[in-house]
């Protein structure tokens, strides 16, 4: 077993331990609410796996969260803390729906245009934060967070105003033309052809860090000095990174619009922004780690929703588990980074 596999194995083991600790702490919280933790987790597992329809839901959930986690992981690798995936997702679904509803061109062309508009909306919205950082030194954590709020108010404005479905009082737009819906794969289950897009992107991601753009993004993550010495235009790469990162959220928004919602509505992003951040960090920004983490989260989210329906346990337990996982992961990463450093110094001394 070489050094790299050994490290990966230790890393994976550490991640599983973190998840277990978070689940145990979550179990204690469930106990505090006066319920049995075993029953709660049992309900969660049954809710996730007990029927083909539920398994289909797992994949439905996996599509947006895995795509967005890939997207933010690219930015994080470059030490660009894009926490704006949520806003980028919202802007993209607005763009997708607007093209589908208001641009009267043949459906196939409209479909392609909506795809381009979605990716562009996500990329440009993230690119705006990249531009503000490059040009003015504005901290991207704060700008992307503010852009999230702005995007959700913009969505609320649209679905209660100009884009509201005239036939209802609900905060939602009319449905997009039915011929634009993604085809479903198995009978009436919600699983749709978007899963193939996810598959294609996942395969692409396996090679991303070996590509020249991936290499450059990785280098600016090592520090501006390193990248500059390597002859990389840092500002340009910051823009590229942010825009690629945003385009992933854009793609997720496009798929969610035509695959699941078929319209825009208030709250369409469903906390995907935070979740994608947790998944990316839990997976140590590694492609395979992210895939595994996203699968775990898909079970946690789908199972958590049915746990709330079947037992007295509130869904917020799931939110707490998410939060615990991220704090534990942050603490773990530091251990991993610290230990070799210490031994290195000792050797020297």
């Amino acid at each position: 077993m070489n050094e790299k596999t050994r490290k990966t194995a230790i890393n994976a083991f550490g991640t599983i331990c973190m998840i277990l600790i978070a689940l145990i702490l979550g179990g204690i919280l469930v106990y505090l609410t006066g319920n049995s933790p075993f029953e709660a987790y049992g309900a969660m597992l049954r809710g996730a796996f007990s029927s083909p329809q539920r398994i289909s839901e797992l994949f439905v959930k996996l599509i947006p969260i895995l795509l967005m986690a890939f997207g933010v992981s690219i930015a994080y690798k470059a030490q660009l803390w894009n926490i704006g995936a949520e806003g980028q997702f919202i802007m993209s679904s607005i763009a997708a729906t607007a093209v589908a509803l208001y641009i009267n061109i043949p459906i196939p062309v409209r479909f392609i245009l909506s795809f381009i508009a979605s990716l562009a909306a996500g990329a440009l919205y993230a690119g705006l934060a990249g531009y503000l950082r490059n040009r003015f030194g504005a901290n991207e954590v704060i700008t992307t967070m503010m852009l999230n709020s702005i995007a959700s108010y913009f969505l609320m404005y649209l679905v209660n105003g100009p884009m509201q479905d005239p036939t209802t009082d609900l905060s939602q737009s009319p449905l997009v033309p039915e011929s634009m819906f993604f085809a479903r794969l198995i009978g009436n289950y919600r699983l749709h052809i978007g899963i193939f897009i996810l598959l294609a992107v996942t395969i692409m991601m396996c090679f991303f860090w070996k590509s020249s753009v991936g290499y450059r993004i990785n280098l600016i993550g090592q520090g501006e000095m390193v990248a500059t010495y390597a002859g990389i235009n840092v500002k340009q790469t910051v823009m590229t990174t942010m825009m690629i990162s945003g385009a992933f959220a854009g793609l997720a928004g496009w798929i969610e619009t035509f695959g699941i919602q078929h319209r825009i509505l208030d709250g369409i992003a469903a906390d995907y922004g935070n979740i994608s951040t947790i998944i990316a960090l839990l997976g140590s920004l590694n492609v395979y780690g992210i895939i595994a983490s996203a699968c775990f989260f898909s079970v946690l989210l789908c199972g958590g929703a049915s746990m709330q329906r079947m037992t007295e346990v509130p869904y917020s337990v799931v939110n707490v588990i998410q939060g615990l996982i991220i704090i534990l992961v942050i603490a773990r990463n530091m251990f991993a980074d610290r230990l070799p450093q210490v031994s290195h110094k000792e050797k020297k001394g």
Binding site: L32, G137, F154, S316, G323, I330, A331, M334
Partner: protein, 313 residues
């Protein structure tokens, strides 16, 4: 539009500005300590949320607003202890640690609310602090209404501005904070315990943030919702950068945001033709603009966001 721009409009606008500046000024003042010590605590948002929920529960359970306020402060300190541990002891990346703190807080806060209050049709409510009219000054026309007819927490917050300035500029504690933020190695060689000063600075910041959160639930909205902080923590961080880490400038920065929020509320109340959702964007847009203006010029502490270790050089 012309008809609403009368004197009553401006008086209530500016009074609202002072009131709404408070929940931004409080955490911002606290973050001045933290950031001057070299720690960027982006977890203020989450810390405020913990202060908001614990303050609200404290006030609800005991029916004593001051006890609730104290609960908020304590909750802020305890919660920020996690941030201090992650960023100082574990030397974690402060940006990730802050984001993680906010995610955990949003889960914890809604869980605690559910645990204490269960599911109810109407949200739990409390009776808030009465507004306290300052004698003589409060009677001055217009000026009195704008500045001297608020609840006591508003006055206390504004009194903290000179106190914060004094502590940072005129006491040894303030000097130590600046020393560990500028040059921790030199501070260490002078016998200052870097970790201890940084821990205390994060805790002070947490206390202020917890107080700011409690202000929202027990002295402003009088109820708790998951969105009660709504980005105020991030706004406070950008106010600190906008103010170049100076308390007095932070006060003006917070008032600017108070003005934006108050303007948004006033315009909505007057039913101006602008949809409310677009007006609600105003404070967030202003935060971005403020960062754009200030980030290039602000002089950051030299050891900003850099963990300190004796072993490395």
């Amino acid at each position: 539009m012309g008809s609403i721009l009368n004197i009553t409009f401006f008086v209530s606008l500016f009074a609202g500005m002072i009131r709404l500046a408070t929940p931004i000024l409080l955490p911002a003042l606290g973050q001045i300590y933290t950031q001057r010590a070299g720690i960027l605590n982006l977890g203020v948002e989450g810390t405020m949320l913990m202060g908001a929920i614990c303050g609200f529960i404290g006030a609800c359970v005991t029916q004593n607003l001051w006890f609730g306020f104290l609960c908020g402060i304590l909750a802020g300190m305890i919660y920020s202890l996690i941030m201090a541990w992650l960023s100082i002891t574990m030397r974690a990346n402060q940006v990730i640690a802050g984001i993680g703190m906010n995610i955990l807080a949003s889960g914890l806060a809604s869980f605690i609310y559910r645990l204490v209050f269960g599911i109810r049709a109407l949200p739990a409510k409390i009776t808030s602090f009465q507004s306290l009219k300052i004698p003589v000054l409060g009677d001055i026309p217009y000026i009195g209404t704008i500045f001297f007819q608020h609840n006591i927490l508003v006055y206390l917050t504004f009194i903290l501005v000179p106190i914060t300035w004094f502590i940072l500029e005129r006491t040894t504690y303030g000097l130590k904070i600046k020393a560990v933020g500028e040059n921790p190695r030199a501070a260490d060689s002078k016998g200052i315990d870097v970790a201890r000063i940084r821990y205390s600075a994060v805790l002070v910041g947490g206390a202020y943030a917890g107080a700011g959160g409690a202000f929202m639930t027990i002295a402003y909205l009088n109820t708790f919702t998951e969105k009660v902080i709504g980005g105020f923590g991030y706004i406070a961080v950008s106010v600190v950068i906008f103010a170049s880490f100076q308390p007095v400038r932070a006060m003006f920065g917070a008032m600017l945001f108070g003005l934006a929020s108050a303007l948004q509320l006033r315009l909505q109340a007057h039913g101006v033709g602008i949809p409310s959702q677009l007006l609600l964007m105003l404070p967030y847009l202003m935060t971005i603009i403020a960062l754009v203006i200030a980030s290039g010029k602000a002089v950051f502490p030299s050891a900003y966001t850099i963990p300190y270790s004796r072993m490395e050089r």
